[in-house]
Symmetry: C2
Subunit: 337 residues, 2 copies
Amino acid sequence: MATIKDIARISGYSIGTVSRVLNQHPDVSEKSRERIEKVIRDLNYEPNSNAKMLKQGSNSAITLIIRGYHNIFLQSILEEVQLALHKAGESTAVVFVDENENEVQTALHLAASMRPKGFFFLGGNLGDFRSYFSEIKVPGVLLTNSARELDFPNLSSYATDDVEAAAYAIHYLYDCGHRKIGVIGGAAGNKESQTGYLRTRGCSRALRECGLDPEEDLYLPSRFSMDGGYKAAKGLLERRKDVTAIFALADTIAIGAIRAIRDMGMRCPEDISVMGFDGIEICQYGVPRLTTIRQDVGLLSSLSVSNLLLHLHYPQNGPTHEIVPFQLQKGESVRHI
Amino acid sequence: MATIKDIARISGYSIGTVSRVLNQHPDVSEKSRERIEKVIRDLNYEPNSNAKMLKQGSNSAITLIIRGYHNIFLQSILEEVQLALHKAGESTAVVFVDENENEVQTALHLAASMRPKGFFFLGGNLGDFRSYFSEIKVPGVLLTNSARELDFPNLSSYATDDVEAAAYAIHYLYDCGHRKIGVIGGAAGNKESQTGYLRTRGCSRALRECGLDPEEDLYLPSRFSMDGGYKAAKGLLERRKDVTAIFALADTIAIGAIRAIRDMGMRCPEDISVMGFDGIEICQYGVPRLTTIRQDVGLLSSLSVSNLLLHLHYPQNGPTHEIVPFQLQKGESVRHI
DNA sequence: TTGTATGCGTTATCAT
DNA sequence: ATGATAACGCATACAA
């Protein structure tokens, strides 16, 4: 690979001048610029970003850490965030990590070691940060969970109010006449999934508010996947013949649940209503269209990008923790009874 | 951020010794090791990977470039590839790029500039490579398109035979009794999407083999998305009342098509059969389950990872270009008539 | 306008 | 076993 030295040697100029050409400095003569640029093209020269970053103290890229490989919802956020950052002239590197804490720790180390000038964390638990975030000195944003209580000076967060949104969903199902509402998703007992835990809490609260008993066996934990939703719905419907509605704590879970309902010889929404959470694209193309709680991906993304760009330029600003509004997106999967 | 110098200064040792501790060299006394490690922990030291890479000549990470933000199929490959690489102890960086050539060029430059020790390209067109790949000297693998004709010494490729697979799909629909088969997906005329072009070619060939006329207005181009499929199916069904089956050149297109069919007051498969391509997870959870051509994600991933790891260690090996077998995955979306 | 020299944080090659 | 130092590729302050 050609280096700046090669360019200097071949063009007959010094590395100083070459560097100036490379960095668009004004004080270099037209003739020199042209000659040097020709050599650069001829050699297919690519600057070594490692050297550049070393010299400049920090990596020019922004690191995006995304928790979980197949989380469609997070990926839609990823897409928007990345697009917005590119539009702002920033380059990005994405790191996917498995959902267990060890990996997250690894990712944080990696992020620290890459010396990015900023980073996003899509879908992390607070616990992961509490222990390992202090190493990081550049501005960061946590998405889909609030980091307010962590109180790091350089970590902002934007999230939907999971408790409130889940409660809203339950109320909606209640208003549609449902009294036996099953809830699938969220790891029972353990808090492995903070999101699942919060949503579950919202459900219990809402059920009590509606004067319903949050019966234990109306809850069934599930992985946040179609397969998980399929199995959980099947289990729930076998155990409780009286449920008329299922609230799936994520759309992917809901898709699995609908498939399970069909495979058990029932129909959605005629026999069992299903409600999702997130508002991913397929909600509007599935059969039936899925009624869901739509998180505002656009707002989450744009706010967080603005925030990071702001902190990049004015690091002295304090962190922001904001809750963005959600929205009930009506489809065809919930029936009034 | 603490550097190796700080550790040296505070621990009272030289940077040489600290570096030895950091890199697990044997020739350092137990006592020194312990004392230095304590300082490392105290300072939350993170090695600067930029400096490390600069010194070592190349980045330790493998760069994965993925073309298109919302390609579920490619993301499933991404997941498997990444998992396999991590299992092999390699770290990865992912770069998503928009589907236009300019971005691809940018990504290749970026990749060249990051000095990765190897890279994957998921879903690129040959044209992108022809012009810009020569800069890259480390081993690379192109997935889902064959790079045989490019003949770069350091670029292998693994792909499904798109022509053959699409032809197979058409033959299957024919065998099910369908004679008026619409094809949606693939950019008509321009070769923007190589994959779409190849699959379209397979369709035409198969139609002729079946003695059918590849009528022009049975083809409708579409973006590779649910939305694209929705619009294309609607357009096609309005234009041609006689089609009994639609072959969508990707599963996401098929999902949109099925939704369109319902919205037009028809049913799949009773009125219109739909066949997809790729074999993404949702095929098995949709309503109806989608009949599709399943690409072997597992094989594509494992072969390509093995290939890259091999070339990392034995760079003198020549490139490999392999076609992996596809499979008809029967669902419920195609009816025998 | 151009060239020279220094240093970024690290590893590795010498000495000691 | 440990310390000193050169080198990696680049940007930049300073000199010319």
